[in-house]
Symmetry: C2
Subunit: 419 residues, 2 copies
């Protein structure tokens, strides 16, 4: 990485602590990613993005801010990117995926809490995440208990605008979400000094749909037997989607897909078991499950998670006569995301079964971040439905540490041999 | 207890398993309650209620049902009792407080979950709770993650009507809760076949306010130094409030308060430290914390919990011109309850400090049921506020088992000596 110390210093970062984090990442990335065989050329761009993860993109954010632009931190796929972009702001996903931040998170949060939440709060408390440091405003949401209350702690550091996500999906709830989006629009107009016009919002709706289409195109390719791209690489792309420049990202993903289209012609069977992962999100650089599973005789062909299909499935209806209709279209699209924080959540079960069939998965691994209660309680119904369809499933609850990696590997190996 | 086997059998209970539960309770009650010295005569009624906990009251519910009446199970102080009573139904609080039910709860729920939730689900799964068995409908709410998703499991056993409690307290949220109450009214009218009239609802608003006044009168007496009634006894009364006949309960609590008024004249200082407990609810027969604390040189003078002040503080405004206004009054009163499932929840911190001063508490014990995330994350802000006021506070996270009782006793003893 180039010399960004001055940039990081201006962001009031703890440089000493940050150095420790920076030292570790290239090693892990090399071990997990660069050790893979026969990676598509198109992954070079994403290798580069990771190598510059706290560098070039941060510089871009800094230039944006120097020109008066604002940076908005988000933590959830329900928050409409369209609105952020239409206000001329840059949105960055701040969910944390590293064990490095847990200790600092536990200074202000209870230990018995989701590691993703402890990590992002820890990233802020330790002042070692330049994305966090670059944000003018954070956008939280009332999704799970942990996040809902974590905003109250984070608000002491940076102002948090909390959107009240409904907990059910009745028609009145879609109306409620539409109102929340309108309020979010007002808030972001106030912050940026820019009015969100109907024209501008139509543009960003199309841009975000184009990003969804690019990811959908990538995932469709994984339906092939075997997949022309590893689950690890696909996960990385899905993680980078949360903070890279949208236009550039769309271009690079499509270039990669062009290359993968070519690869299809010469694919050879590889005898690997095909796995669908479902459950809680995997924030960068959480590659734990994918690296364990793909070190065995298996490939992950799809993720029914926020860092998977939930991010891009369903497009916003682009036809609208006016602002109100367009906002409703946005609300309706986002309310289709099937997260377990909603009750009931039968749609998710239908999605899992559909994806198992479309992606020809041999088995399902249910990935539950430690202490995530919405997903862990929901497991029973998912398991029942999969049993009915004779789809093998195993449940794994885990955090970011390496303590249980050996145990997980043994269990997954047994599962893979059985399916 | 009298012979209720036929009654229990008709309720499709697991008699064998229930016998085990019945055998244990009198012993525990004797050890915890009857060992207390100098209890008010008025507690005899509540002793009797406990001795008949699965008997007489169940018989009353049975008679009510034989006359075509309905029984509604509830799990939260946000659910308006006024509505249940106005429909001619009987409401019973079903939150579970016994370790006995945990094992059965864990058959369908994850282990890392609040014991109160595991207990009530276990009570249903094991068919050993005659209150559960007597219910025609259950009313759930979107409060915490665990409960929100538990209704989906419980619905397989008995129909659950879920009310969507808001997560914030803006004016629009009060409107939302008003709508939810209206929907609840429709649902319960449908179930009971009774129309809830303006006159009837006014009556039950007054009745429920009278119950609140009786409890408030009791708690006011605890402000005396020393309190004329133990925390254990006061807790028991608060627990029984959830399922006893309202009119009888009001009468018996007022009779007890008359006796306590007399007692005040001859109260002698007892040198005990005065404790405020704040946090998560204590469902019957969860007497763990109170029995530990009051076995030491301390008395619990007030509980800022759902089985404490949150149950009765604030009355419903009785003046209303029409049904719509009355429902709004009900919505407004309930939305004042300061549970940690709301964000923000600054009102609770103000309440705790206010009660410490009014009840002249020497210290605060923060009681957090295991895995309850809303309350555990909120602790940090409560602790900060109490530190500012120089009010000593200690945090205890625990479940229903006796494994940590010794440890808790040691910690509390040290706390009491220090304050």
């Amino acid at each position: 990485m180039g010399d960004y110390r001055k940039l990081w210093s201006n962001l009031n970062m703890n440089l000493e602590k940050h150095d420790v984090l920076c030292a570790v990442l290239p090693e892990i990335y090399s071990k997990v990613y660069l050790s893979q065989n026969d990676r598509p050329e198109g992954m070079n761009y994403f290798n580069f993005v990771v190598s510059e993860v706290h560098g070039l993109r941060i510089e871009e954010l800094d230039n944006h801010k120097k020109q008066g632009g604002k940076v908005i931190g988000t933590f959830c796929v329900y928050v409409p990117d369209e609105v952020i972009l239409a206000a001329g702001a840059i949105g960055v996903g701040l969910c944390g995926g590293s064990q490095f931040w847990i200790e600092d998170g536990e200074k202000v949060l209870p230990r018995n809490l989701c590691p993703l939440i402890k990590a992002f709060v820890g990233a802020k408390v330790s002042a070692t995440c330049p994305y966090f440091q670059s944000c003018d405003m954070l956008v939280g949401e009332t999704t799970c208990d942990g996040k809902k209350k974590a905003w109250e702690i984070l608000n002491d550091y940076t102002p948090v605008h909390v959107m009240e996500l409904p907990q059910m999906k009745r028609e009145k709830n879609i109306e409620d979400w539409k109102m929340e989006i309108k309020e979010f629009i007002s808030r972001i107009e106030e912050l940026t000094g820019n009015k969100i016009t109907f024209e501008k919002l139509k543009e960003t709706v199309i841009l975000c749909n184009d990003k969804r289409k690019a990811l959908k195109r990538l995932y469709e390719l994984r339906k092939n037997i075997p997949s022309p791209i590893s689950g690890l690489d696909s996960l990385l792309i899905s993680q980078i989607a949360f903070y890279d420049d949208p236009q550039r990202f769309i271009q690079k993903v499509n270039e990669l897909c062009d290359e993968l289209d070519e690869r299809l012609k010469s694919l050879q069977p590889n005898g690997k078991k095909r796995i669908l992962i479902t459950g809680t999100p995997m924030a960068i650089p959480n590659w734990k499950m994918h690296s364990i599973i793909e070190s065995l005789n298996a490939e992950i062909v799809v993720e029914e998670t926020c860092t998977g299909t939930r991010y891009f499935e369903n497009f916003v209806e682009e036809n609208a006569n006016d602002m109100d209709e367009l906002i409703e279209n946005i609300a309706r699209r986002y309310m289709k995301v099937n997260c377990a924080c909603f009750t009931p959540n039968a749609g998710r079960i239908e999605d899992i079964i559909k994806y198992v069939k479309e992606y020809k998965a041999d088995g399902v691994i249910y990935y539950n971040l430690s202490f995530c209660q919405t997903y862990s309680v929901e497991y029973k119904k998912v398991e029942e439905a999969l049993n009915k369809e004779n789809i093998p499933v195993m449940f794994i609850e885990t955090d970011y540490s390496e303590e249980d990696s050996g145990q997980i590997k043994t269990r997954v190996e047994a599962f893979i041999e059985m399916i």
